[in-house]
């Protein structure tokens, strides 16, 4: 049985990537794709790789038919919340790719974004990283897909916190991210002569994703976790590499202790691969190895002299960081195999 789905705000990079996976999914029937700016335009004009896969045109959201099984929202924060409010009442399952329902606490949301337009709905949302909330997602009507940077950092750090291996009070995450993360809208900062060749620290402290990272890791720890996160825009179109630094709680912690912690945490998580291989060119995670796939590759190294651990975590920001993870959440919400429609490797060479 195929489930009918529609995508609101389908003309951006997130919506386009989600559509790519949805069109190939054996249990999904794509019904409508909305865009105000591109209403009436063939979808393939913006997504040329989908030629031959769909002949649909974008429609304005006023034509949206909610007699469907699932609705994906690929809208800016604050705008998305209004649609969630409107459509939750119809009973449709909603997968929101905006930030509006990631943060449980309305005051924290206000600190990093603005006043929440519908704080009464916050308790209805489940944070959408399946590796952390698989069972809750299965029962949810509203899933808030995690941010891309947050996904890479949380997946890399959560097992160490769960196992009590690191000092939770001073975790540092340094991320490198490709240009597609800034979306399909453009300004001077994304203009080619300005963006080309850049290694730009664009938010050294207080990045919005810090809120969801600390929320999720604190939930695992059972106490406050502090994460300083600094992202850098680098010369890639897709991909994130987050390098996380933390102090080990116990001097003499061995590689084997960390292997056990990661294997235990991800024993039921098919999209997390542990990468720490002495015997290959690709010894640690690299974005090149996950681009185009829903995998998160995670590796680590202990610095015994300083009793420190360095974790490398990489994802494709548009796949595991948004569209792919949204499909993974959909699969769980509808009782399907978590891997359905997503089980494919990236490209090599790239």
């Amino acid at each position: 049985m195929a489930y009918d789905i529609s995508i609101v705000g389908a003309s951006g990079y997130t919506g386009g990537e989600l559509l790519r996976w949805a069109l190939m999914h054996p249990e999904m029937e794509v019904k409508q794709l909305t865009s105000e700016r591109f209403a009436g335009t063939p979808v393939t004009k913006l997504n040329p790789t989908l030629r031959g896969f769909t002949s649909a045109n974008f429609v304005p959201v006023k034509e949206l038919n909610t007699d469907i099984d699932a609705l994906f929202l690929c809208l800016p924060h604050k705008i998305s919340a209004g649609f969630v409010k409107q459509y939750l009442e119809t009973g449709v399952k909603i997968i929101d790719l905006s930030a509006d329902f990631r943060i449980h606490d309305k005051n924290t949301y206000a600190k990093y974004y603005q006043e929440h337009p519908h704080p009464e709905l916050l308790p209805k949302a489940v944070y959408g990283i399946p590796e952390l909330h698989r069972e809750e997602i299965k029962k949810a009507q509203l899933v808030a897909c995690a941010g891309c940077l947050a996904t890479s950092i949380i997946l890399g750090t959560a097992p160490l916190i769960k196992a009590g291996l690191i000092d939770n009070s001073n975790i540092i995450a340094d991320s490198k991210i490709g240009s597609s993360a800034s979306g399909a809208a453009f300004d001077l900062s994304t203009h080619h002569p300005e963006r080309q060749g850049t290694v730009r620290s664009y938010k050294p402290s207080g990045h919005r994703h810090t809120a969801e990272i600390e929320q999720e890791l604190s939930e695992i720890a059972g106490s406050k976790v502090s994460v300083g996160m600094t992202p850098h825009a680098v010369e890639m179109v897709r991909g994130i590499l987050s390098t996380v630094h933390a102090r080990l709680n116990t001097a003499g912690t061995k590689d084997l202790d960390l292997w056990k912690a990661y294997r235990s945490f991800y024993s039921k998580s098919p999209f997390v691969r542990l990468v720490k291989d002495k015997d290959t060119l690709y010894r640690y995670p690299e974005p090149k190895c996950v681009v185009g796939s829903n995998f998160a590759d995670i590796g680590f190294e202990i610095d015994p002299e300083r009793s420190r651990v360095i974790v490398m975590s990489t994802i494709d920001n548009l796949v595991k960081g948004s569209g792919g993870q949204a499909i993974q959440n959909f699969n769980l919400m509808f009782g399907l195999d978590e891997k359905m429609g997503l089980w494919q490797p990236g490209f090599h060479p790239l």
Binding site: D255, L256, W259, R263, K276, K278, D279, T280, R283
Partner: protein, 62 residues
């Protein structure tokens, strides 16, 4: 392997990965762990046992 003998797994001493015993494998063979890439020496075949292989030692003939 002798007919009827059960093939078993051994744990990589470096990363803890389960490594399956390949038919015909012999004591002294050097194999790689598929997870961490460590070079491992087969110390026994019944039961299957592995140890981290010694690093190549340099001898300049002095």
């Amino acid at each position: 392997m002798i007919q009827g003998e059960t093939m078993s797994n051994a744990e990589c001493p470096e990363c803890g990965a389960q490594i399956a015993q390949r038919a015909g494998i012999e004591v002294g063979e050097i194999i790689s762990c598929g997870d961490c890439g460590s070079k491992l020496e087969v110390k026994s075949v019944a039961p299957f046992g592995l140890a981290t292989a010694p690093s190549v030692e340099e001898d300049w003939g002095e």
